[in-house]
Subunit: 167 residues, 2 copies
């Protein structure tokens, strides 16, 4: 389903999703028309959901990031989904993880300063009656990785990419 050429393309598009198709083709070692077709297929199959700018939160005035663990009581579907929708829409929210374990949500937020962090917790979160418990951790650093490598790939029946002629 996903061959080595696809993976190479995904790696490149993680590094720079806006590089020209010519550069992409050169980087992965195929003709531009080939990489164009592969990228189109990856999008159509939903492997690539889209392309996003990577914005420096500090540069747009959000100098403080935090991860907030929240417990919902009772953790009914109704409460979970309702809270998820609500928190996703807050302007402070950068990401939302719905989790198992002792906490139901991990909310990644970015705010202007520590006052903003405090205000988020005591003004926003505690507004919600289903929020039973909150634990805040300041995020000192956040790094993203490039998850494209094959993970203990189960042997698939798919063909490897045809190398064809090279001239």
């Amino acid at each position: 389903m996903i061959d080595e050429l696809d993976r190479a393309i995904l790696r490149e598009l993680q590094k720079d999703a806006r590089q020209t198709n010519r550069d992409l083709a050169a980087a992965v070692g195929v003709a531009p028309s080939t990489s164009l077709e592969r990228v189109r297929a990856l999008r159509e199959r939903g492997v690539v959901r889209g392309y996003r700018a990577d914005v420096d939160l500090d540069a747009i005035g959000r100098h403080v990031q935090a991860m907030i663990a929240v417990r919902i009581r009772p953790p009914s579907r109704r409460n979970i989904e309702s809270f998820r929708e609500w928190v996703s829409r807050l302007s402070e929210t950068v990401g939302v993880f719905v989790t198992s374990g002792s906490r139901d949500f991990l909310i990644h937020i970015a705010v202007a300063d520590t006052d903003g962090l405090y205000a988020f917790v005591i003004d926003r979160l505690t507004q919600r009656p289903e929020v039973a418990d909150v634990e805040t951790s300041v995020v000192y650093e956040h790094r993203r990785a490039v998850p494209v490598d094959p993970i203990r790939e189960r042997r698939s029946e798919g063909r490897e990419p045809n190398q064809g002629r090279t001239g």
Copy 2:
């Protein structure tokens, strides 16, 4: 520093970082040459760090995601930085948060299945002597948000964008 036009551009580039500059210009209501210049400036100033493809982890065979809280003992700079570098490079790792609070790291991973999750914890993490405590939470869902809106903006001396002539 960041005016409303910049913010509109950032919002658009969150929706689709690969839309053509013409479309971007139309979406934010300026000429293509103007939006091109703005985007170039945003990149040069470091507001936009780059552009990344949004890859569906499930579609590339990583069916299980988890958030793993790790405590490092002793939490010395040496141990923290060494662990951060090491964990960032693992193929399972999607993101790494360095945090305050009772845990020093939050590691977002994506693996093939629950076996892979178990293996990550007992084979990888416990290999490291500085890892004192590990707590795993399965991630049922992960949503990203679009953090571009102004957050309690301090009044800055920057000029608002000149609207100029419209014809």
